[in-house]
Amino acid sequence: MTADTNPGIDRWVKETSAFDRVRSVAFSLQQPQSAGQIADSAHVSEKTARGHLRRLVEMDVLLEDANDGAKTYYPDPGYMRYRDVRTLAREHGRDELTEMVATLKGDIEDWQDEYDVEEPTELRMSVADDDVSQADVYDRQKIAEDWEYTEHRLGLIRDALAQYDRLTARPPATA
């Protein structure tokens, strides 16, 4: 199925602006990509993609790399992290965030007990053990991924709690 015949892609183009699509493709990149590759995924011309990517670089949310003259783009991990932490602080109260920490720590303790390991890397290595069946291998890898993801989320929530006042501050009301 090509983009030209896919009703989903047609709808995406109809419902969103070129800037929306370029930003959305750029923010979800899995690898650094050139303006041409991003243009293909966003269904815009390369010239349009270049212009929008330049603005996103100027806004400090995308990073631009030039290797051998070919420019590639990738989301700025520092900006992405700040955005996540700020969203957590804005959408949740301190008590909620504290409860989330307890829930996620509980999940990690459950995995530690169930698999008798301390760290997700140990769980990844345990798939080589003789008594782990083929069916369990994929399950354990998935749990290891969820575990690492949970540790990442815990880090974000702790940062949101530590900087809560600053992240939720509003400009003073004008008289």
Binding site: M1, T2, A3, N6, P7, G8, I9, D10, R11, W12, E15, T16, D20, R21, S24, V25, F27, S28, L29, Q30, Q31, P32, S41, A42, H43, L63, Y74, P75, D76, P77, M80, R81, D84, E96, L97, E99, M100, V101, T103, L104, D107, E119, T121, R124, M125, Q134, A135, Y138, K142, E145, W147, E148, Y149, T150, E151, H152, R153, L154, G155, I157
Partner: protein, 154 residues
């Protein structure tokens, strides 16, 4: 940066861990599907308790033009520890009439290719599998491609 537990994992581009890429991608997918006219609600599953490991999309069955009271899509995105490999994913549709099918990229003992469609006629039936192909490596482009396939198939 939380480095706990990543000692043996190769860092991805710009030092991002697979967990960071997963979160960034889920966040963007959550934003983009809201633009689809048949999409009512998008939530991070168990977002309220901090887990947010996958997305649950609720469709308006009237706009999807289907004969069901409820229709949903579950989205998972799991980047590989080796960042040169394509991420695993699940885009799985199910509705209140028992329709149940999805596009997956993940190992499954019932099918040779990582990329496949699986469907079953009823909740107690076995899944049937077919191989599938996707044009794009971009999660959002892929998501809209699959939303189109869902509209055609549902």
């Amino acid at each position: 940066m939380n480095t706990m537990g990543y000692q043996l994992l190769a860092d991805g581009p710009r030092g991002e861990s697979p967990a960071e890429i997963r979160h960034r991608t889920l966040t963007e997918l959550k934003q983009t599907v809201r633009h689809h006219p048949a999409v009512d609600v998008v939530v991070g599953v168990e977002a309220a308790d901090g887990r947010f490991r996958e997305l649950e999309v609720t469709f308006d069955p009237r706009i999807l033009d289907i004969d069901a009271n409820q229709a949903s899509l579950r989205i998972e995105w799991c980047p590989r520890p080796d960042s040169s490999e394509s991420a695993y994913f699940i885009f799985h549709y199910y509705d209140s009439t028992g329709r149940d099918f999805g596009w997956h990229r993940e190992p499954n003992p019932h099918v040779d290719r990582l990329e496949h469609v699986q469907e079953r006629e009823s909740p107690d039936a076995e899944y049937e599998y077919e191989t599938a192909h996707f044009e794009s490596q971009s999660p959002v482009d892929l998501c809209w491609d699959i939303l189109g396939r869902i509209e055609q198939r549902a």
